[in-house]
C-alpha cells in the first residue's frame, strides 16, 4: 500500500448555520496520526466530516481551507479530494461480490488488481473470500472488507465516522487495533469522530472536544 508523507491541514475552519457557529477548528494532522473529535450529538461532528469530505449541505456556511498533499482541496468535488471515509456500517455494495467491492474502490491505473485484492484479503485473514456475496459475511468480516476497500482506494487522508459503534465489545477492540495499525502503517493522516472514550484512547492521537 502506498504511503504518503503529507499531513492534512485544517486551516481556520469555521462552520455556521445561520448565525450559530457549529464548529471552529484550526489544526494539522500528521501522516499516520489519528485526530479524535468528540462531542455531544448536534455538536457538528458529522458536519465537520461532511465539509472535509466534500458533502456539506449548502445550507451551512463554511469558511477556512483544507490542505492535503500540498493542495487546497476546499473547493474540489468529493471524488477529487483523495479523502477516504469509513462509516458506522460497512456498507458493502450488495450487488457486487467481495472482490467487486474491492475493485470498485481501486484507482484505474492500478495494475494486477486481482493479485493485490488477494493479498489484501489474505492480510486480514479472509483469503479466498473474493467471490463471496457480501450479505453472507459476518459483521466482523464485513467491517474488515470495508477497511481494505478503503485502503485499496489509496486515499491521501481518512475520515472515520464512529466506525466501531455498531460492533460488539470483543470485535470492537480487535477492529480498532486493526484499523489504527493499518492507518498508521500506511502513514495516512486520519480524523476520527466518536462518542466512545476508548476509541480515543486506542487511537493514541490528539483529542479535540467540540462543545
Amino acid at each position: 500500500m502506498k504511503t504518503t508523507s503529507h499531513p492534512l491541514a485544517l486551516e481556520r475552519i469555521r462552520i455556521a448555520l445561520g448565525t450559530k457557529t457549529l464548529v471552529e477548528i484550526d489544526t494539522l494532522i500528521d501522516p499516520g496520526e489519528v485526530l479524535t473529535v468528540m462531542g455531544p450529538s448536534g455538536a457538528g461532528k458529522s458536519t465537520l466530516l461532511a465539509m472535509i469530505a466534500g458533502f456539506l449541505d449548502p445550507a451551512f456556511e463554511a469558511r477556512g481551507r483544507i490542505w492535503l498533499r500540498g493542495r487546497d482541496i476546499t473547493a474540489l468535488p468529493a471524488e477529487a479530494r483523495g479523502v477516504g471515509l469509513l462509516f458506522q456500517d460497512p456498507l458493502l455494495f450488495p450487488h457486487l461480490s467481495v472482490a467487486g467491492n474491492l475493485r470498485f474502490g481501486m484507482p484505474r491505473r492500478v495494475k494486477d488488481k486481482n493479485a493485490r485484492i488477494e493479498q489484501a484479503l489474505h492480510d486480514v485473514g479472509l483469503a479466498g473470500f473474493g467471490s463471496r456475496d457480501p450479505a453472507t459475511l459476518s459483521g466482523g468480516q464485513q467491517a474488515r472488507i470495508a477497511l481494505i476497500r478503503l485502503l485499496l482506494s489509496e486515499p491521501a487522508a481518512v475520515l472515520l465516522d464512529e466506525p466501531f459503534s455498531r460492533l460488539d465489545r470483543q470485535l470492537r477492540h480487535e477492529m480498532r487495533r486493526l484499523v489504527f495499525d493499518r492507518l498508521h502503517h500506511a502513514g495516512l493522516p486520519s480524523l476520527l469522530v466518536t462518542h466512545d472514550h476508548e476509541d480515543a484512547e486506542d487511537a493514541g492521537g490528539p483529542l479535540i472536544t467540540l462543545a
Binding site: F55, E79, G84, F87, L92, P94, H95, F104, P155
Partner: protein
C-alpha cells in the same frame, strides 16, 4: 449541464401541450371555430349547454363519483394499513396491488359488468338454485342512475393505486416506532396507527389523492361501460357531443369540455375544504385520549373491503376468460354449454400488428419517462433540495383528458405536425411520466445517501456513482415504475386515437372499436389481451431482479 435542464424539459413537455390544448378548447367554447363557421365570439354555446336536458344531474354524478370514489378508496386503504399485520393474508393482499394496478380500466370495467349484470356471472352462479330465476331479473344494477356501479368500478382501480402510493411513502414515517410508542401509552394498535401514523401519511399521498379525484370525476371509458346513461356523466356527454354528426354540436362539446375542467376543479376544491374540516375535527379526535374502540369493526372493513375488491377484479377476469371461449350460453347456466377456441382463432391473426405497435409506443414512452424521471431525481439529489416546479408533473393527472386533447389535436394539425407515431408517444408520455415519477420518487429520495458518498470518496465521479451504484441498487423499483408506465401507456385510448389520426392501432383502440359491436365473447378476448400485456410487464419487473440478483442475498429484499 444537461441534468440542470431536466425540470425545464419536463415542464415544456407536460405543461405546454396541456395549456395549449385547453386554450384551443376555450376558443370554440366561446363560439370561435372558423372551419365550422364560428367567426366571432359569443355565449351561444354556453346557453345551449345550460339548456341540455339533465345537465345538472350529469354534473352532480361527475362530482359525486369523483369525491365518493376517492373517499371510499382512501378510507379502505387507511383502514387496511391500520389493521395490516405481517400475516400471510396481508402480505398476499399487498402483493396483489401491482397486478390490480396493471389491469386496464376498460378491462376491469367489462369484467365487473360481466360479473354483476342481472344476467352476469354472479346471478348465474346462484340461479336457478337459490334465486329461482329462469330469466335474468329486470334489475337496474349496471349503469344505475346514481352511479353506484360506476363508483364501484372506479374503486377497484383506484384502491390499488392509493395503496401502492401509501406503501411507497410509509417507510419514511417509521410507522412501527410510532405505533410502538402509542401502544406503550396504552393505545390499541389500530387506534395507534390511525392516530399516530395516518395524519402524517396523508400529506405524503395528497397529490395522488388529488389525481384520483380528478380522474374519477372525468373518466370516460369506465363511465361509458358502468356509468349512468340518462343522462350520462358530464365527460361522456361531452364525448357524445364531440361525436355528434351534427357538427354545430362541436361548440356545445367545447363548452362542455371547459365545464368539465370546472367540475373537476370544483371537486378538488370541495375535497380541499373537507380536508381542512377533517384536519380541525381530526385533531380533536387524535387528542381526545380514547385509546381503543371499534377495532373489530375496523379490522373487518379494512381487510374485508380489500378482499372484496380483489375478488371482484379476479372474478371479473374469470368472467372475461369464460366469455372469450364460450359457445352458446343460455341464462341460468353457470358455465357455457359449449366451449370454442373460435373467438381466439379469429382474433389471433389480427393481434400481431396492434400488439407490436402497443409495445413500441409503451416502451418508448416509458423509456423517455424513465429517463426524465431519473434525470430529474438525480438532479434533485445533487442539488440537495427538491425542485418545487416538479409539482406541475401532476397537471396531466388533474386536467381532464377531454378538456385538452381535442384542442391539442386541432393545434397540432394547424402547426402541420403530422408525425403520428412520435406524437402518440409524446402524448402518452404526458400520462406515463407522472405515474413513473410517482412510483419512483419515494424509493429514489429515500435511497441511503451514504452509498453515493461512499462511491465518491472511493474516487468515482457523480456520474459513475449513478451508473454503478444507484442504478443497479434501485433496479427493482425502477422496473416496477417502468411496469406502471407501460400499463398506463397500454391503457390509453383517446390520446392514441386523436393524435394518431386513427392510423395507430393499439390493442386498446382495437378493443374499444370491437367493443362497440357489443359481442361479449369478442370483448372477452380483447379485454384479456389488453390485461395480459401490462401483467407480463409486472411479472418481468418482479422476476427480473430476482433472476439477476439470484446470487446476491442483499438484493433480494431490495427497496
Amino acid at each position: 449541464m444537461l441534468l440542470r435542464l431536466t425540470p425545464v424539459v419536463v415542464l415544456v413537455l407536460l405543461v405546454v401541450p396541456i395549456l395549449a390544448g385547453v386554450a384551443m378548447a376555450l376558443l370554440p367554447a366561446f363560439g370561435y371555430l372558423p372551419a365550422l363557421g364560428g367567426e366571432s365570439f359569443s355565449l351561444a354555446p354556453w346557453r345551449e349547454l345550460l339548456a341540455q336536458p339533465g345537465l345538472a344531474r350529469s354534473v352532480g354524478i361527475s362530482l359525486a363519483s369523483g369525491l365518493i370514489t376517492t373517499a371510499l378508496s382512501l378510507a379502505v386503504v387507511l383502514l387496511f394499513l391500520a389493521v395490516a399485520a405481517d400475516t400471510r393474508l396481508d402480505r398476499w393482499l399487498r402483493r396483489l396491488v401491482s397486478p390490480l394496478l396493471a389491469l386496464p380500466h376498460a378491462a376491469a370495467a367489462f369484467g365487473l359488468a360481466f360479473l354483476i349484470a342481472p344476467s352476469g356471472l354472479l346471478a348465474r352462479l346462484f340461479s336457478p338454485g337459490l334465486t329461482g330465476w329462469e330469466q335474468p331479473p329486470d334489475w337496474l344494477i349496471l349503469q344505475d342512475p346514481w352511479g353506484l356501479s360506476l363508483m364501484l368500478g372506479l374503486v377497484i382501480k383506484e384502491l390499488p393505486f392509493l395503496l401502492l402510493m401509501s406503501l411507497a411513502a410509509l417507510p419514511q414515517l417509521d410507522a412501527p416506532r410510532r405505533v410502538a410508542l402509542a401502544r406503550s401509552l396504552g393505545y390499541h394498535p389500530t387506534t395507534a396507527w390511525l392516530k399516530g401514523v395516518a395524519p402524517a401519511l396523508y400529506p405524503l399521498i395528497r397529490l395522488p389523492v388529488y389525481a384520483v379525484i380528478a380522474f374519477a370525476s372525468s373518466v370516460v371509458d369506465v363511465a361509458m361501460i358502468l356509468g349512468p346513461t340518462l343522462p350520462p356523466t358530464l365527460a361522456v356527454s361531452v364525448l357524445e357531443w364531440f361525436h355528434d354528426p351534427d357538427l354545430a354540436k362541436r361548440f356545445l362539446a367545447a363548452a362542455g369540455a371547459v365545464l368539465q375542467l370546472g367540475v373537476t376543479l370544483a371537486a378538488l376544491l370541495i375535497w380541499w375544504g373537507l380536508e381542512c374540516l377533517t384536519r380541525r375535527l381530526g385533531r380533536r379526535w387524535v387528542e381526545n385520549g380514547r385509546r381503543r374502540g371499534g377495532e373489530r369493526w375496523l379490522r373487518l372493513t379494512g381487510r374485508g373491503f380489500l378482499i372484496i375488491t380483489t375478488l371482484t377484479a379476479g372474478l371479473g377476469l374469470i368472467g372475461l376468460a369464460l366469455y372469450s371461449v364460450a359457445g352458446f350460453w343460455r341464462f341460468p347456466d353457470a358455465l357455457p354449454t359449449t366451449l370454442t377456441p373460435r373467438h381466439w382463432q379469429t382474433a389471433l391473426p389480427a393481434l400481431g400488428g396492434p400488439v407490436a405497435t402497443t409495445l413500441v409506443i409503451a416502451t418508448s414512452a416509458t423509456l423517455l419517462a424513465m429517463l426524465l424521471t431519473l434525470a430529474a431525481l438525480e438532479h434533485e439529489q445533487r442539488r440537495g433540495r427538491r425542485t418545487a416546479t416538479l409539482a406541475l408533473l401532476y397537471l396531466p393527472l388533474i386536467v381532464p383528458q377531454i378538456a385538452f386533447l381535442f384542442g391539442l389535436m386541432v393545434l397540432l394539425e394547424s402547426l402541420d405536425i403530422r408525425a403520428r407515431l412520435p406524437l402518440v408517444i409524446l402524448t402518452h408520455l404526458l400520462f406515463v411520466l407522472p405515474y413513473v415519477f410517482l412510483s419512483m420518487a419515494e424509493s429514489y429520495r429515500h435511497f441511503d445517501p451514504r452509498w453515493t458518498r461512499l462511491a465518491l470518496t472511493l474516487g468515482h465521479s457523480p456520474n459513475a456513482a449513478f451508473w454503478r451504484v444507484r442504478l443497479p441498487m434501485l433496479l427493482a423499483p425502477i422496473l416496477t415504475a417502468a411496469a406502471v408506465g407501460m400499463a398506463v401507456s397500454i391503457g390509453q385510448y383517446l390520446p392514441t386515437l386523436l393524435l394518431g389520426g386513427g392510423r395507430i392501432a393499439t390493442v386498446t383502440t382495437e378493443a374499444v372499436s370491437l367493443a362497440s359491436g357489443g359481442n361479449r365473447r369478442i370483448i372477452g378476448v380483447w379485454a384479456l389481451v389488453q390485461a395480459i400485456l401490462p401483467l407480463l410487464g409486472f411479472i418481468l419487473a418482479m422476476g427480473l431482479p430476482r433472476l439477476l440478483w439470484s446470487h446476491r442475498r442483499g438484493m433480494q429484499g431490495a427497496p
